[in-house]
Symmetry: C2
């Protein structure tokens, strides 16, 4: 046996959790957080954003699914596929949930099995970590330009073995060996609209020189957190990657002193694993195991044309009730993409959704009321979701008992209970002007919140689970990023 001692043999072992990264992220979260403080001036950003807006014209027109250039509807099944076989398909799904109020239904669903990459590039300038954000227009965006991660790439982009990539900065995420990986985890997306879709959420830090290309802008985490309060600005892909940042630990409490009152102190404690929680991680994991074992969700692919209660009329697929969502066609014209234009199907949700965490202080540590939620597209039965995730309009005429749990508690919140509320978009590449009001509402913890499918959890436990796939759903990830953002914005 040959004994080639490798170079790493003499390198020291990596010991314990990384405390340096959370410390540097805390520094970045403070930097630019105060409009009057260092890096607090966002005028330069606003100018850049306006310039991007001016350049990034995209004309989007709804068209009939019958006239969708490059896409075909299968004569037998009604499924909608691209002529190339690439991108995604729209098919049908039949869902069975034993014991649920609605135990069987059918619906259109997007099949997109490829894992893409959503990546934020990080680099220190003058000792402060900055995130390279991209100004990006997607056809579904209500207001046009949004801030996106450095990279949003499909699998065929980033697994390409030969040659450079047309996607800027992608090579850094394709070969991370020379860099520092701060986060790298596949996370699910909307399980109500996607079948088992996952994207790889990455945050990679470089020390080498990086060119700031047009359309990209370096922001501190503190600046990004301020912008999360702006309506419809930070896109969904950026929010989910931000949620996966190792933004936790005692460093945050040391960097942000003194706290601005009790809520703020409880939030900072909530980001610090040393604060503990109402339930131990072993108890939380056992609860997830129990719910996943007992919840039965069976799905079966159906031809899109065979879905009961869904009809394709005038080139749009809709539910007979007019509720839920439509599948529509859009035609896109643009000057900024590789191609001058394209057409595609999109999902257009009905009404504005409501996505909210109830939060409560427990022994001085803020806890969010997490819901173990089943959606048909999840790979592993249930994921941890916001307390409330629904479209209230769908329930407006129903008796209180039929309304989603805790929705009234959110809708009736007094202004001083509302710690965060902003209208944000879902992913504009697949969802047409689908927006949710994201909210964080503070309540007193009480016995009504003790339910088998809900648990109070501090932010640091969600952060711990976010290192792994299939635990925290995409809506809850947005709220985790929003909770992070409150660590510097809260003044009460």
């Amino acid at each position: 046996m040959a004994h080639h001692t490798t170079a790493e043999q003499t390198a020291p072992l990596s010991v314990g959790p990384d405390v340096d990264t959370p410390r540097r992220l805390a520094v970045s979260a403070v930097a630019g957080s105060d409009p009057a403080g260092p890096l607090g001036d966002l005028d330069g950003f606003r100018q850049w954003f306006e310039q991007c807006h001016g350049r990034a014209t995209m004309a989007v027109r709804q068209v009939s699914l019958d006239d969708l250039a490059g896409w075909r509807t299968d004569q037998d099944t009604g499924d909608i596929t691209h002529d190339s076989g690439r991108f995604f398909t729209v098919g049908g799904l039949e869902v069975h949930r034993s014991g649920a109020p609605v135990s069987t239904w059918s619906q259109p669903i997007i099949n997109q099995p490829e894992v893409g990459v959503l990546g934020i590039l990080v680099k220190e300038f003058d000792g402060v970590a900055h995130l390279l954000m991209q100004g990006k227009v997607e056809p579904g965006n209500a207001l046009g330009l949004q801030l996106s991660p450095t990279v949003q790439a499909t699998r065929s982009n980033y697994t390409r073995v030969h040659g450079g990539s047309a996607v800027p900065y992608l090579d850094i995420f394709r070969d991370t060996a020379r860099h520092r990986v701060l986060a790298d985890v596949r996370q699910s997306e909307q399980g109500a609209w996607f079948r088992q879709k996952r994207n790889r959420n990455m945050v990679v830090e470089v020390t080498e020189e990086v060119r700031e290309l047009p359309g990209f802008y370096w922001l501190t985490l503190g600046q990004v957190h301020r912008l999360l309060a702006v309506e419809d600005l930070i896109n969904m892909d950026a929010r989910t990657v931000l949620a996966c940042l190792p933004f936790a630990g005692p460093a945050l409490r040391e960097a942000i002193v003194p706290p601005h009152g009790e809520f703020h102190a409880a939030l900072l404690a909530s980001c610090d694993a040393d604060s503990g929680g109402l339930h131990s991680m072993a108890e939380v994991l056992s609860w997830v195991t129990d719910i996943r074992t007992h919840t039965e969700v069976a799905t079966r692919e159906l031809p899109l044309a065979a879905l009961p209660d869904w009809h394709r009329v005038d080139g749009t697929i809709s539910h007979v009730s007019g509720q839920f969502f439509d599948v529509i066609g859009v035609e896109v014209r643009t000057r900024t993409r590789e191609v001058p234009g394209w057409s595609q199907p999109m999902i257009a949700a009905k009404g504005t959704g409501l996505v909210a965490f109830l939060v409560a202080r427990v022994h001085g540590v803020l806890h969010a009321l997490v819901h173990a939620r089943a959606e048909p597209g999840y790979l592993d039965v249930v994921e941890l979701a916001p307390t409330v995730q629904c479209t209230p309009d769908n329930y407006r005429h129903l008796p209180a008992a039929a309304r989603p749990t805790f929705v009234d508690e959110v809708l009736s919140a007094r202004p001083e209970q509302i710690r965060y509320r902003t209208l944000l978009s879902e992913e504009g590449g697949r969802f047409y002007r689908s927006r949710n009001t994201y909210a964080v509402v503070e309540v007193e913890r009480d016995s009504r919140h003790e339910r088998q499918d809900f648990r109070w959890m501090p932010v640091h436990q969600l952060a711990d689970l976010l290192r792994h796939s299939h635990y925290v759903n995409v809506q809850a990830r947005t709220l985790v990023a929003c909770l992070h953002s409150l660590t510097i914005r809260t003044t009460r």
Copy 2:
């Protein structure tokens, strides 16, 4: 809003990792580990085991699949199902793996979507935690009686809402609220033979009185660890649950002093997260994410009768090469079960398998060479597997390049390199006399081990991943339990 302050509001928060459980497990691991020391006498156990053996007669006879009472073969598909629709079915699977040496194949596979529970009950006697083990015979067992967990129950057993259970001790695992849950996680089983099979691995500690029923025996962890060296004694279900115990932390190094030499010291360090590792957990998780993103495994259900190269002749399904495994029928007669007898299909593997970790000391910390392995039945593409997991006979006549990676390094190990080697069975309820030689082989770490699909990991990192589903495969879990067992048995 009503403000009912709940009782828990005033209870303190659960802070940090549980250090008490690992400490008490360390005490239990020492207890009975020395044959001459306290609790070291296993004569009582051996008498009990012989008595069980005498009572637990089971006559198993191979029969034709054509004559399998209670089971039917579908005329069109050839799939084998129980008349009741319960238990499991044997169907076919077509597998595509881009870039693999064998990129497409078909095979029979067991479909058993229900999640059962494998549970070990723990209780302290005189301050020492004891595990309640069961003497159990399964039709596939080569030597008859084995030691199993306290409970092996199907889903229909343990989700039963009304009335008591016919399975002893099951109620403790069905309602854990009054007890202490030490482990509770769904884990996969053989991905080569099962389609997306998972069982719930539980360890629950009670303080209340528990009757020791006939067929059950309390053992310390130290005693169980000694018995893991005995051929074919501890069954697979017990081994996988043992692997999920939170057996880690500095407590072990404090309980077992002084170490018996450098290997033993490195093993104890390996169980302690404070020792660190060659790669940080962030790096390990990023590696898993990368492999899972780049590995493409596509599967498709096929009718069992339509599988190319598999033929049903004389009531047995075999591969034309005579390799891999057969699907056979067995008829069982017994005196000890609820029913006097039954028939069922089983998988009978060809040859004895070899399952081994290469281990190496790195800066005084033992690391195992873990393989990111794709199997068609895994829910999430790949799981972490032993360095070697194969049936060497299948490769005996092939050139070295076609042999599984590192198999020769295991087969040519000198006696002093072999730290553990015992013949153990796979689950005797589905697999007929399927046995593997499980081995831990110490090597010098060298550059040949640096491969994209292999990583050196200390035991504590595997323990950390074992808190979650879909990371560590069933064969690697047996080896983790075996590594645990070496913490008291190593004398070099």
